[in-house]
């Protein structure tokens, strides 16, 4: 076997240019597959990483217009959900009772809007959000002093502010807990008492230039509801599953739980989603793209394989006399067949190795252009190597068999 491999390499080196041209189809085919798979994996990897840091398994439950109303929605525009459509605190309580051990937190929030806070010469723009206690578990900030919003706060005018806010509004105070500030939202002026200070975190997605960042003021969700004069109930809420819980299953159960309240509602139902489920949709799409590229690459490999077969037939014709000599010296048909299949496999495998190198290189280049770390897929590389060997065997068999069946007398007489 080793002799056959050495022999194959020696005939490869004897015709370097020809061998290279023959391999080109294989190189391009394998290279394309590896490049796309490497790039795809790198993209998926970086998306997964960033989504996990954002809490990919959190489930968002929100109202969704029923599709039967699409025509109406198109005609009249989106109708806002009425008070009777909202997710009620009762539903949330029942959900908590039923799924208690499967969930870690149910975060509720209400946007009050942006407001201006002035203190002497200093002004700060804030975004006021009503939240419940569980909000901290899910998405909440790190507390520096005081406490976060509590459900027991009810409709009290307490607020949790950022350290950035404290610096600009109370530049000289050591302890701001219990201090009050006035905030103007639209025409209304409201006074809040500071219950806690959290550490402001730069939002990674939107750069803030150098202007003062808009920091969030957290107030109790019930307070926000009263200030907005809204009815009880929510358009959306976010659920964090208990650790180790299958978030996909939990998402489905949650959706059907809430949807059961809406079976008789004509306009609205409930949809649950998570970044994870969105991610898997994206991954599926990427996989489809990968599959399409693989199909194109397969055609390239087929063409490459035919090229290999062609060159093997040429090589066998050229070496007819050698085959005759080998047979006269006692080579069995099997020996000849193995010799030429080995040669064809070596051509394809060398082409495959070049292709893998090319593909990993291109994939890394592509990944660096997109700005993600390259992740060459070991499985894809292994498969590419195996596949190129298989091409070698498949397309080498016919020529090798032809060589094996040559009549030694005819072959010896061949000029």
């Amino acid at each position: 076997m080793i002799d056959n491999i050495l022999l194959a390499f020696s005939s490869l080196f004897a015709n370097k240019m020809r061998a290279l041209l023959t391999m080109l189809g294989i190189i391009i085919g394998i290279g394309a597959v590896i490049a796309i798979v490497t790039l795809g994996d790198s993209l998926t990897g970086s998306i997964t990483d960033s989504m996990n840091s954002m809490g990919a398994s959190n489930i968002t439950v929100s109202l969704q217009q029923k599709s039967s109303d699409d025509a109406g929605a198109l005609m009249f525009g989106r109708t806002d959900p009425g008070a009777e459509d909202l997710i009620t605190p009762t539903m949330i309580e029942e959900y908590r009772t039923q799924f208690g051990d499967k969930i870690r937190a149910i975060a509720l929030s209400r946007q009050l809007g942006n407001g201006e806070v002035s203190s002497g010469e200093n002004t700060a723009t804030v975004s006021i959000t009503g939240v419940n206690t569980d909000y901290q578990t899910l998405d909440g900030p790190t507390m520096l002093s005081g406490r976060f919003v509590r459900d027991e706060d009810g409709e009290r005018m307490v607020a949790v502010v950022s350290d950035v806010f404290v610096e600009s509004v109370f530049p000289n105070s050591q302890n701001v807990l219990g201090e009050s500030f006035d905030v103007t939202v639209g025409n209304a002026v409201m006074r809040f008492f500071i219950a806690g200070v959290y550490e402001y975190e730069e939002n990674g997605f939107i750069s803030m230039d150098n202007s003062d960042p808009v920091t969030t003021v957290y107030i109790p969700v019930e307070t926000a509801r009263r200030l907005l004069s809204e009815s009880e109930g929510y358009e959306s809420l976010t659920i964090m599953g208990a650790s180790g819980e299958d978030s996909t299953a939990l998402m489905e159960q949650t959706e059907s739980f809430f949807a059961s309240y809406y079976t008789h509602n004509d306009s609205y139902t409930i949809a649950a989603s998570s970044l994870e489920s969105m991610l898997s949709t994206m991954t599926e799409m990427l996989d489809t793209v990968k599959l399409a590229v693989a199909a194109i690459a397969a055609i390239s490999l087929l063409v490459g394989g035919i090229g290999v077969m062609n060159i093997m037939l040429v090589s066998i014709t050229e070496r007819t006399r050698e085959i005759g000599v080998r047979k006269a010296l006692g080579a069995r048909n099997l020996d000849i067949r193995i010799q030429f299949i080995t040669e064809s496999v070596v051509i394809c495998l060398v082409g495959g190795v070049f292709g893998i190198a090319l593909g990993v290189g291109l994939g890394a280049l592509g990944a660096s252009l997109v700005g993600t770390p390259a992740k060459p897929s070991i499985a894809a590389i292994g498969m590419a190597a195996g596949f190129s060997m298989a091409i070698g065997v498949f397309f080498g068999y016919y020529p090798a068999n032809k060589a094996a069946k040559l009549d030694p007398i005819e072959a010896l007489r061949y000029e």
């Binding site: 002799d3 000599v325 006269a328 010296l329 006692g330 048909n333």
Partner: protein, 235 residues
């Protein structure tokens, strides 16, 4: 040592059998070559010389008749058996040497042993030994293209001996060589015959070379027309 090396009876070889252009080349050859004999087969081109050589060399099967080589029936052997017979029983020496161009002298000598399944170390050892015997040990790493005709033929003879085949079958071995080189090659055959007791069948159209052998068999139009003692043969 009882049975002859070659025992042919009523050998007929027909090409294109059953077709309109059917052609009978050999018309019933009876030929016996004893062990240790050095015989020559002479004949004009078209006399069936090559066809007979192919049959003796187990490259082909006769259409009719029986052929025992070293006691083994060749006339009914399968392809695989023919390969083994060629490998183990026959050492071929061709007019145009037929060395493998990409392999050096030693690798060429090793080739039959490779097909016989000798281990690598044994192949290498024996190849070196044989190259030394034919006086080519200094050139063992040279490619055939780097060797002269006489040197190539000596490598080819070493290759023919590599599996220790009892029969050497030489087809015009000096046909492509000048007189002086031909002499060295013929001397090598005589030496192998004398010292190693090889049975040698020499196919040639040269009466001078044929006369050096023990027995000259003349072939005309597919029949053996005469046998005589080699006039110039001496022990």
């Amino acid at each position: 040592m009882s049975s002859p090396m070659i025992e042919m009876h009523g050998i007929v070889k027909t090409y294109y059998q059953g077709k309109p252009n059917e052609l009978e080349i050999l018309h019933g050859i009876d030929l016996v070559v004893n062990r240790g004999e050095f015989v020559s087969i002479v004949g004009e081109s078209g006399s069936g010389k090559s066809t007979l050589m192919n049959l003796i060399g187990a490259l082909d099967r006769p259409t009719k008749g029986s052929y025992l080589l070293d006691g083994v029936d060749v006339s009914n052997a399968a392809d695989r058996q023919l390969s083994d017979i060629r490998n183990r029983k026959i050492g071929f020496v061709f007019q145009n040497f037929n060395l493998i161009g990409r392999a050096n002298a030693q690798k060429n000598v090793e080739l039959p042993m490779l097909y016989a399944g000798f281990p690598a170390r044994e192949r290498s050892r024996r190849a070196k030994q044989l190259l030394e015997m034919v006086g080519m040990d200094q050139r063992s790493k040279h490619l055939p293209a780097e060797l002269s005709g006489g040197q190539k033929q000596r490598v080819a003879i070493a290759r023919a001996l590599s599996c220790d085949a009892p029969l050497l079958l030489a087809d015009e071995p000096t046909g492509a060589l000048d007189t002086a080189t031909s002499r060295t090659v013929m001397d090598l055959f005589h030496k192998l015959h004398r010292e190693q007791g090889k049975t040698i069948v020499l196919i040639t159209h040269s009466p001078q070379l044929a006369a050096e052998t023990q027995r000259v068999i003349t072939l005309i139009d597919g029949n053996i027309v005469g046998e005589e003692k080699g006039a110039a043969y001496h022990d």
